[in-house]
Subunit: 359 residues, 2 copies
DNA sequence: TAATTTTTCGTGTGCGAACACGCAAATATA
DNA sequence: TATATTTGCGTGTTCGCACACGAAAAATTA
């Protein structure tokens, strides 16, 4: 590893001078500056971030505002694990990450948790902007203290943010449309199944639906696209009756697209015959969904790569804080197509980390 | 932030003593140890990882043996970039990575390059085991100096390694089979197109073909599977004549599977009508292949995630060296299904790194 | 009690970079 | 030419921790 000392020796100057050109602090003659710069280039020097962090007494802090999770509602576990993994890595370069979890169904919890967060005076914030109105309040506060903030998983239109880390929802829906066309024989229909009222992330769901429809409309083959809206995915009985009635009225349907993460709930109310004959496509690798994928009921799941979202969010923010890298406005993660066969490989990374965590 | 110095003062001992109990190095009386431990607990002390990392100055070295690349044969560029990215990250924790590139078509180059590598006495080696016989010689040498070594991209049967980082070739072929079934209408045929002689990574290709065939055989629908072997993908004229003749003799064919990374060469010799009517599935996101994907000629590409392979290989080895983490024997990377629509998102990571590199 | 061994602990140096202080050389002013 | 001012640069200290060396204190032996 090349050190400042090495560069200084080679240039016949002192370490202080090298330091000056590195941080272009001025006070160096043109000639020696050029000389040093060329040596830096040639030796491919880069500042040792660890020593730098120590000397600077770097104490960046990233605060994360994220929904809490439990067994039944485990979607937010994976982003959290990804955040944790990155946190561990950046600790050694002087970046500290703290977590604040809120109830994703409560606006009050969202705001109240943020208020606790802001008291710790973080240098940067990663947040999941669940509620539009409250998010605007939050952004105002963050601007006051000049904290950089990035949105995680949920992209809010019309609110300016430093960056967004997540999926391109429109395109993921578009791809779902393509896969659906492949899975449904020509001449048959399919339908989009969603709740009439949605919480928080409905922005993403709307965009997925739009992408899905757009693919259907641009494609030559003629398949009719139906829509079914249900009250809730949690009420088994009602869901079952809605779905059965709908399928009876539209016997030509061979594909069902569920743009939320709840396709497993739909599978639970289908008969064996229906499971066999329908091409089911949904979102997110929750344990329940993965189970449906593995037993062959669901043909494709589209993954948002939640683990990677958390990981990347912390990485880009800390690179920004420590190395002054510019924040890319939109960091779109890969749109993963999961099948029965490849799903295990996709989870390997996070599983490995989880295992390490428990030791 | 509480420092060792603070603890020492409070306990009326020197920093050295606190250090001893922190790392239980021994040589501390029971009484003072207890006292210090309780203070550590009470003050909620934790080692400053930044200072710790700096002071430890780990000095591990990883040597990488990998094929060289150029414009026409660019496959190995991406693993190399991934290796580079990881190298940068681990530099700050005292791990140094050096590269040794060989000509992938020359056994002599392979061995000769390794000999240069081994002279640098690395603590660990990442290598692409191209030639079986020579690899055995290499492994013998590595065992002598007790270096840990991991295989990258190519998994060699019957040779024991510390670990393998790459794709599960069998399963990736299996998935290609599934996708092919989706893309080819019932009642039509498809074919596997490969060279009769293959170099280096033919192990992987054989396994892919096996997986592909297995999916076809287990599936209920009846599609006939043909096989076409050509002399070389580089000889346009001959390739064209072979392919055209074959397709004329088998007019029922609607799908072509190319288990190597050269599907773009096949596309180049197809007529527009053939491009329209055939379902083409291949491997690897080389620039040429990605172009075919984007213009709609190729329906799916399966990616080996070459960038990630390089990245992960260095990461797991350095985690092993620095943090004593156990090496997982097989680190299978996700089997990525690439389409026209999602391919851009999949490359984003490596593109970003490449851009940073050029600044 | 003196000599020796063992236990227990303090001191000092280095890791690589950041930055303040201040001296010498170069340039400007009288 | 002597003095003042700027410019260019070297030196020394600090960050918090790891680890080696060796000294004082305690325990053992003669």
């Amino acid at each position: 590893m090349v050190r400042i000392k090495d560069i200084a020796k080679e240039a016949n100057v002192s370490e202080g001078t090298v330091d000056r050109v590195l941080h272009n602090r001025g006070g160096v003659s043109k000639k020696t500056e050029e000389k040093i710069k060329s040596i830096l280039e040639r030796r491919n020097f880069s500042i040792n971030p660890v020593a730098s962090a120590l000397a600077m007494k770097n104490n960046h802090s990233i605060a994360v505002l994220i929904p809490e999770y439990n067994e039944t509602d485990s979607f937010w576990k994976l982003p959290y694990l990804g955040l944790l993994k990155a946190s561990e890595e950046v600790k050694s370069i002087g970046v500290n990450v703290t977590y604040f979890k809120f109830n994703q169904y409560s606006r009050e919890s969202y705001l109240e948790t943020f208020n606790r967060l802001i008291e710790t005076k973080p240098t940067a914030v990663v947040l999941v902007p669940m509620f539009l109105q409250e998010t605007n309040l939050i952004i105002d506060e963050l601007k006051k203290i000049e904290a950089t903030y990035v949105f995680l998983n949920v992209d809010v239109e019309g609110v300016d943010s430093s960056a967004y880390v997540g999926q391109d929802s429109y395109m993921s829906g578009y791809i779902a449309g393509k896969l659906m066309k492949l899975g449904v024989p020509n001449g048959f229909d399919c339908c989009i199944l969603q709740t009439s009222t949605s919480t928080g992330d409905n922005q993403a769901i709307l965009k997925r639906v739009k992408g899905f429809k757009d693919y259907f409309n641009t494609s030559q083959d003629e398949n009719v696209l139906h829509e079914l809206k249900v009250d809730s995915f949690s009420d088994d009985v009602q869901l079952a009756s809605s779905v059965h009635q709908f399928l009876e009225n539209n016997p030509n349907i061979r594909g069902v697209f569920v743009p939320s993460s709840r396709i497993s709930a739909v599978v639970d109310v289908l008969s064996d015959v229906q499971k066999q004959s329908l091409c089911l496509i949904g979102f997110d690798n929750t344990p329940q969904n993965v189970a449906c994928l593995k037993n062959g009921t669901v043909l494709f799941l589209i993954s948002q790569k939640p683990f990677d979202q958390g990981y990347e969010a912390v990485r880009i923010v800390s690179d920004h804080l420590v190395k002054n890298k510019v924040l890319k406005e939109k960091l779109y993660l890969p749109i993963d197509i999961l099948t029965k066969e490849n799903v295990d490989y996709n989870d390997a990374n996070q599983l490995m980390f989880e295992k390490d965590l428990n030791q």
